[in-house]
Symmetry: C5
Subunit: 87 residues, 5 copies
């Protein structure tokens, strides 16, 4: 899992069926101080997260398995909204 | 998933059977401003994307599962054509 | 597997069901000399590790499979507390 | 998938059974201009590729599945010989 | 697969059951000239490799599958001892 901040969303009409109805969010990977650590990615939202919120993102089979089928094309998912990073 | 721009294609005669009939596209990973973020990769097209278009690319089992069998050698797939990045 | 030091934890109320009851720890990847090697990540603790301890972290299906179900959203797990790095 | 140039091979007597009889090739990841993009890796050849040729390499389950069993230790496979990169 | 040099080992008493009895080796990823290419990782030894030897390391499901059960927490395995890199 990595920490990220939601910075936007992707609009796509022509896409794989299993992405239909999914919120495609642009996520900026950050560290626990909120600093950017590498380039943006895209993840499917599974917890109703909004722009500006800090979240946790999972990759691979874990990302796919949090969505009911059809879910085949999903390899990255927002799985938690962060209340706080405690250090 | 990562954002990318299609910059070309790969021609290959001698290849794994499951790649036969698949469009092998050269994809340049970008951020939501269209800036290059790392080196080019290759992905199989599943949505009829063309050179110059911005797309989303999935990796791993997700990439394979968007193609009917035979699909064994596929570990990267273009799964959406981007209409817009909204930030 | 990578070596890491636990530097904090994540508090999250709104999250995927399979994360309920899991300790979400902030892990700082290090080398065998304890030097930071890249940005922090988050992993689910499976061995009762605490802040300041050196640990081993596994990713992907291996991470998920060390937890009983429900475990679907887990892609990173703390799987060992390090007694010593012997070089 | 990533683009690579074959730069050598690995000789290994003591190895996991499923690597027996497999050609272990050293692959230098490149971009579509043939420029090196990161450090060398090793991949099992599935298409009869030779030193100096440009190829496509797949990773993970895709790499394993292009070989008949036993194939368990394979996580990287050469899956195509490139005729041309068209940009 | 990546090339690496074994530079040490990890001692851990409190660990996931499937790591019991496994040799946890510190591996330094290298290129075919033996130059370091990124930070150290840890891999389970499956071929009796020793400190100072050059080896091949596999990741993910491939790494797990070279060990008999229990093997759940393994995501990285030493799968070959290198006799020579031929370039």
């Amino acid at each position: 899992m990595f920490m990220a901040k939601i910075t936007g969303s992707v609009v796509s009409t022509k896409k794989e069926d299993s992405l239909t109805g999914k919120k495609l969010m642009i996520v900026q990977p950050v560290d626990a101080n909120g600093e950017d650590v590498r380039s943006e990615e895209v993840a499917c939202d599974s917890v109703g997260a909004g722009i500006g919120e800090y979240v946790l993102v999972a990759r691979g089979n874990a990302a796919r398995s949090v969505f009911a089928e059809p879910n085949s094309a999903i390899d990255s998912a927002i799985i938690a909204i962060v209340d706080s990073f405690d250090k």
